[in-house]
């Protein structure tokens, strides 16, 4: 150990850490060949390094980590300033309102495909009914005149469809003496006639 100077010790450490360049590596190899003390130091350092690495890896093995309790995880991290997706909430509200409007609001008589019957151009002679053509799959709406001079939308979809299924199982004895079970399902459907929507009648100046 006495023959190991500071420079050689550093070179051995750098070799262990993979920090030697080509020239330094050659220089160290030459020194190791002629200096048994240097070889012993390298071997000793390698031995202790391997032991230290093994100890640390064992100690801090990648065990699954029960990191935080559910209470902590329930809290989202606190962010500074505006969140990046600040528009998400108002956007979602607007989309929801639009969706409700599209689903529940009937198309008005100003639609592109409107066919009126009995219209003379005067308010008093407003059409008795305005049929609105709707896209395939959408229940058609009719705007119907009401006594106060306005019009109300009426759809032709049954307000309610009641379905009932009677299920019966009957046993029949065959000629060979076997019993056959037959299941009979009877479906009853009752539809209510077209109903008026809940939309307020439109004014007579339409």
């Amino acid at each position: 150990m006495s023959e190991i100077d500071e420079h050689l010790e550093r070179q051995i450490n750098r070799a262990l850490d993979g920090a030697l360049d080509e020239d330094e590596r050659l220089e160290l190899d030459r020194e190791l060949i002629r200096n048994p003390e240097a070889r012993r130091l390298l071997e000793r350092c390698e031995q202790l390094d391997a032991l230290a690495g093994g100890v640390l890896h064992t100690l801090f093995s990648d065990r699954p980590n029960a990191v935080l309790g559910s209470g902590e995880m329930a809290r989202t991290p606190r962010r500074m300033g505006y969140p990046r997706a600040w528009w998400l909430l108002p956007g979602a509200v607007a989309a929801a309102v639009l969706a409700v409007f599209l689903v529940y609001a009937p198309p008005g008589p100003e639609g592109a495909n409107v066919s009126a019957t009995g219209n003379t151009g005067r308010i008093a002679d407003r059409p008795a009914q305005v049929q609105v053509q709707t896209p395939p799959g959408v229940v058609p709406w009719t705007w119907t005149a009401v006594p106060n001079g306005g019009m109300i939308p009426v759809n032709h979809r049954p307000a309610r469809v009641d379905r009932a299924i009677d299920r019966g199982i009957y046993g029949v004895r065959g000629s060979d003496g076997s019993i056959y079970l037959i299941e009979v399902n009877r479906t009853h459907v009752r539809e209510r006639p077209g109903s008026q929507s809940l939309i307020r009648p439109v004014g007579g100046d339409l």
């Binding site: 010790e9 550093r10 450490n13 750098r14 850490d17 993979g18 920090a19 000793r44 350092c45 031995q47 202790l48 390094d49 032991l51 230290a52 690495g53 093994g54 100890v55 640390l56 890896h57 064992t58 100690l59 801090f60 093995s61 990648d62 065990r63 699954p64 980590n65 990191v67 935080l68 902590e72 995880m73 809290r75 989202t76 991290p77 606190r78 962010r79 500074m80 969140p83 990046r84 997706a85």
Partner: protein, 189 residues
């Protein structure tokens, strides 16, 4: 240039942003990937394996709560290091309040080798126990780079960037750490 380009493609940036948005799965995956490193940092500072797990819990708790305060997301590693280091220092202060007298270094090695607790038995062999005790006995300025080097195999440059030290200083500290370990373990391992 290469360094900057590689930083820009740091795959952890996506994960960090997901955690900032409250993604728990991303957080758990992040903990799995960096749990060992965080424990290594804590151990490097603390030198007490018995307190590493508790301190690591504090680190992840702080990360989850405070990751929104991380301004430069690409600097998440130094930030995480600081969080881990602070947790380790807090734990060390707590220990120093509870422990009046510190054992001399040589005595510590000798005593730990002979008095094994049930937890120690899990670690296993006597040589490993001696080595662990010796690492724990290193001064913190040598232990920190030594643990980072041997646990994660970080280069001098990486260790220096993290600890804010020149590469030469990192190298010197590693040389001295090894020298101290050789001296402590002479005739024992």
């Amino acid at each position: 240039m290469t360094m900057a380009a590689s930083d820009n493609h740091d795959p952890e940036l996506v994960v960090i942003n997901a955690i900032r948005d409250g993604d728990r799965h991303a957080f758990e995956a992040f903990v799995r990937r960096h749990g060992r490193w965080v424990k290594g940092v804590i151990f490097g500072v603390l030198g007490d394996r018995d307190r590493v797990e508790d301190a690591a819990q504090q680190v992840w708790l702080a990360v989850w709560r405070r990751i929104g305060e991380l301004r430069a997301v690409d600097r998440w590693r130094p930030w995480l290091y600081q969080v881990a280091r602070n947790a380790a220092l807090d734990s060390a202060r707590e220990v120093s309040r509870n422990r009046a007298v510190a054992q001399p270094l040589a005595d510590d090695v000798a005593t730990s080798a002979t008095s094994k607790t049930p937890a120690d038995a899990l670690i296993g062999e006597e040589q490993k126990e001696l080595m662990l005790t010796a690492i724990q006995s290193l001064p913190v300025l040598y232990r920190e780079p030594f643990v980072l080097r041997h646990l994660e195999e970080w280069s001098y440059r990486e260790i220096g960037e993290l600890l804010g030290l020149p590469v030469n200083t990192v190298e010197t500290r590693l040389v001295r750490a090894r020298r101290l370990l050789r001296e402590m373990l002479q005739g024992k391992v």
